[in-house]
Symmetry: C2
Subunit: 208 residues, 2 copies
């Protein structure tokens, strides 16, 4: 049932070198490849090995196969995105609920603009989970959920919403995601700066 590392790895951490050191380097190298080569395809085992400076076979001791590698990379990058959003939130005065919401969104957009390859890989997949789980789970809904609590904090602070908080969360997420996707498929660099005021305008639209 385990996804990637195979039991052998997690049994031997901190024995050789720092244990899972190479695993992290592989993920970093994969991220670097993804940054240079735009699309999620083209991310090849051999290419990652070449960037990291190791043999292709060495990757198979940390990831079962190519699919496990991209799964690991996606999870890694989602963790990074969540940390960035949380850090941006906590860097704002705790009393300014709307400012914290804006900071979260700005961090999201900055990540998407700075890492187009990662972003497309994280949000460009489809038809992966055959199980029709009733609650649509996944890292995306986690992000949306953090936005929901941010909206709820705004509402508790006295800023009235035009729609329920959960609805506002998916609306603003959808707006940010759509705006970023529009930027990515139309690479006019002069518009990269325009995405932040756009989502700000979006947020304004959701308060009375």
């Amino acid at each position: 049932m385990s996804d990637e590392g195979t039991a052998a790895v997690q049994r031997t951490r901190n024995r050789w070198g720092e244990g899972e050191r190479l695993r992290g380097e592989i993920l970093d190298g994969a991220g670097r490849v993804l940054s240079e080569l735009g699309g999620g395809d083209g991310l090849t085992i051999r290419g990652v090995a070449r960037v990291v400076g190791i043999a292709p076979a060495s990757i198979y001791q940390h990831f079962a196969d190519r699919e496990a590698l991209v799964r690991g990379l996606i999870a890694h990058e989602f963790d990074r995105l969540r940390d960035l959003m949380r850090a941006a939130d906590e860097a704002v005065d705790a009393g300014d609920a709307v400012g914290r919401l804006r900071a979260r969104l700005h961090a999201y957009c900055a990540f998407a603009v700075d890492n187009p390859g990662h972003y497309r890989l994280m949000l460009g997949n489809g038809a992966e989970r055959p199980a029709p789980d009733r609650p649509p789970a996944g890292p995306l809904v986690d992000v949306i959920d953090t936005l929901r609590v941010a909206f709820e904090r705004c509402a508790e602070a006295g800023h009235a919403l035009r729609v329920p908080a959960d609805r506002a969360a998916v609306m603003v997420f959808v707006g940010a995601h759509g705006r970023v996707a529009l930027l990515h498929s139309n690479p006019g660099e002069q518009h990269a700066r325009a995405v932040t005021p756009f989502v700000d305008e979006f947020v304004d639209l959701l308060f009375v």
Copy 2:
């Protein structure tokens, strides 16, 4: 400078059979492959040839290379999308400007929901045009422009907007696109029906 067909083909239309008959069948077959195999990758010359029932070599008389084939397919599908949106618009009573706008958006969402593979291929590309043209051109901005005129018609009919028409157009497009992308990366079938009321709610948000 010509993109795909090579001069030989367009010089001989309507000579053999119906001229560019096979070209259309190839595009249709490519679309079928794209519908079954989700992603834009995996759309292979040999796969298309197998589906159409021809030899892989036969494709190269209608398309210079694989890239030209996907370019042709993208253009083909954008034409189809534009026709669908226009037909939906014209099927509504000409006096109901908001209804016509809604019809355009519904047609857009229906296309995106029914053809996930096409949709991802059409909007999932990036870093293709190295020329930093000042006006960000492309089929997407054409779609947005039709939405802009639809919004302007609404404004002329007396429905006041909360933002300028061009701004409203990109906002509602971004909303629809983001909602569809969210659906695609979270394939919960019970939500496919939820995208239309979502964009309706979006439209409501843009009028006073």
